[in-house]
């Protein structure tokens, strides 16, 4: 647990970066500090490992006052990941990762062996161990940064915009793997970002800070979207928060429609018999959906060939049965046939659902969770 107790950072020129900040980052959870630039989120983070000293107030880590611990001892027990990874350019990947264990006086051979294990844990092949940071892509460097932070096996990790310098595709991938890793490791993480979407995706709890370093709201992502504390938070979480809130609503029971499916290699004519409204869903040998095949209005002679992968429309997203209403609605909205594809956990085809059917589900859910009028007007 990390506890901020009325922490203030005032610079000599009078600028207040953080103003009487008090909050708790729970053990084993990801607490995201989010806010516009100048809100003091990075300053707050850096005060935890004392890269910056607070002007007043105290920060407790597992009930130990951070200011009473020597800086180096404190920092060796806290993992730190920064934007652009901040790797040491002159050290090989394996030595970068082994930094903290070596500082703690661990045997070199053991530290390196452990570092290679950590590389695999963050999804990097062991062959990369001997390379230098500049030989890796931005995304790979970021993974190394995470491995390095984990090497001392610290209970606490601080992450300062670790995924903001990579392209959106890699970022989404890194975020997914980060969540998987955290699921296994259960670290106490304080994560700084300026991106509210990232905050909502990763945070168990999200602290929204406003300029001048004041805490506007600390809440779970779902609560933040449903009940912003004030106009600043409402504005910051953005316009499409109603849609994004569906990302926290379990799909639950879905009235799926079964479809006759086509397979790659089949005659187009056979596929045209199973098509509905001119579209047939094509699946692979394990019944996993591959894409939609447009068969509407084709002249008879166009149906002479076979179903091949390059004929498929890949526009639709897939929703998992165990997913969220947001996924399901997106699957329906993005599907070229208008029928959203839902799959079982193993990826095999479960059924389709239209957007209007999803909306019925959303409205039914909204009614069931809306507070009674007397409660709401209190």
């Amino acid at each position: 647990m990390i506890r901020f107790d009325a922490v203030t950072k005032r610079y000599p020129d009078g600028t207040v970066a953080v103003d009487e900040l008090s909050f708790v980052a729970q053990s084993g959870q990801i607490t995201v500090l989010v806010g516009p630039s100048g809100c003091g989120k990075t300053t707050s983070l850096r005060m935890i490992n004392r890269l910056i000293e607070p002007t007043s107030g105290k920060i407790f880590i597992e009930d130990r006052d951070a200011s009473t611990v020597s800086r180096t001892e404190l920092r060796r027990g806290i993992g730190y990941v920064i934007q652009q990874a901040g790797l040491f350019p002159h050290r090989t990947i394996v030595d970068n990762v082994a930094t903290v264990p070596l500082l703690l006086g661990q045997d070199k051979k053991k530290a390196r062996a452990r570092a290679v294990e950590l590389l695999e844990l963050v999804g990097l092949p062991a062959q990369m161990a001997k390379r230098y940071p500049a030989q890796l892509s931005g995304g790979q460097q970021q993974r190394v940064g995470v491995a390095r932070a984990l090497a001392g096996d610290p209970p606490v990790m601080l992450m300062d915009e670790p995924f903001s310098a990579v392209d959106p595709v890699v970022r989404a991938q890194l975020q997914q793997e980060f969540l998987r890793l955290q699921h296994e490791l259960g670290k106490t993480i304080v994560f700084v970002t300026h991106d509210i979407d990232e905050a909502i995706k990763l945070g168990d709890r999200v602290a929204v800070l406003q300029v001048g370093g004041r805490l506007a709201q600390l809440a779970t992502p779902a609560e933040l979207l449903a009940h912003p504390a004030d106009a600043f938070v409402a504005g910051f979480v953005g316009r499409d928060r109603g849609y994004r809130a569906l990302g926290f609503a379990d799909a639950g029971y879905l009235p799926l429609t079964d479809e006759h499916v086509a397979r790659v290699g089949e005659d187009l004519r056979a596929a045209s018999y199973v098509a509905r409204d001119g579209w047939a869903l094509v699946v692979d040998g394990d019944d996993r959906p591959l894409g939609w095949l447009a068969l509407g209005g084709l002249p008879d002679e166009a149906l002479a060939g076979q179903v091949t992968a390059d004929l498929l429309n890949l526009g639709g997203t897939l929703a998992s049965e165990a997913g969220t209403l947001r996924e399901v609605l997106d699957a329906a909205l993005s599907s070229p046939s208008g029928r959203g594809v839902v799959v079982h956990d193993d990826g095999s085809f479960a059924g389709t659902i239209t957007a209007s059917e999803v909306l019925v589900r959303i409205e039914a859910r909204a009614k069931s969770i809306r507070p009674p009028i007397a409660e709401a007007t209190k």
Binding site: L51, G86, P89, L103
Partner: protein, 220 residues
């Protein structure tokens, strides 16, 4: 070419002795100068206010004409006028003049993010300086070192006018003697160029050994 070889063979033992003195005069000031410049340069990069005065004062040293320095030093150091130590000290001063800025700029060239990461990993300030900042400053410091080393070799030649026996003596011999014509001067020229190239090559080799990460990047 034959005349050069002949001249060299005739005075072999004397010329080899001069070569040893020259190598020593060319190497020691660079090494000592670097050792002196490291703490001064570190201070200039660590305390920003001290950068302008330290670098300016160091730079001014270079404007002292070498002949003047060679002549003034015996008085200050209490050494004999022909003592090679005078030359070594003078050359050390010039190396410091060149290297303070180089060391300061090299240390400052290491990115703040890297330094912050090192601190956050739990390096003490001293550990961080020697394990992260200094190794990363090597390419910049090394480049400056090459300039200092080569300029130092050329100043050794100037020191021959003082009569300190070293390869530069070939030039003074050449100016005075007529028997061999310009042969000694030519031989001196060749040997100085060889010495300068050897030093430059040695530093370059040292840099390659110390900075394997730069080659790895270049090879990509």
């Amino acid at each position: 070419m034959n005349a050069l070889w002949q001249y060299f063979r005739d005075d072999q033992s004397e010329i080899l002795g001069w070569l040893r003195t020259t190598l020593w005069l060319a190497a020691a000031p660079v090494v000592v100068g670097l050792l002196i410049s490291l703490p001064i340069g570190w201070a200039a990069s660590r305390f920003r206010w001290s950068y302008p005065p330290l670098v300016t004062i160091a730079g001014l040293l270079y404007t002292i004409p070498s002949i003047v320095l060679f002549l003034v030093l015996p008085g200050i150091l209490g050494t004999g006028i022909l003592d090679p130590v005078n030359v070594a000290v003078a050359l050390t001063i010039y190396c410091v003049a060149l290297l303070v800025r180089v060391v300061a700029d090299g240390l400052s060239s290491v990115s703040d993010a890297t330094l912050a990461a090192a601190s956050a990993m739990g390096y003490t300030n001293r550990q961080r300086l020697f394990a992260v900042q200094l190794p990363l400053a090597v390419p910049v410091i090394g480049a400056g070192l090459r300039v200092a080393a080569v300029s130092n070799v050329s100043l050794v030649a100037v020191a021959s006018t003082l009569g300190v026996a070293q390869l530069g003596s070939l030039f003074t011999t050449g100016y005075n003697a007529t028997k061999h014509g310009s042969t000694p001067i030519l031989l001196g020229l060749v040997l100085f160029i060889v010495v300068a190239l050897a030093f430059d090559g040695a530093i370059l080799l040292g840099l390659r050994v110390l900075t394997p990460w730069r080659r790895a990047v270049a090879a990509r």
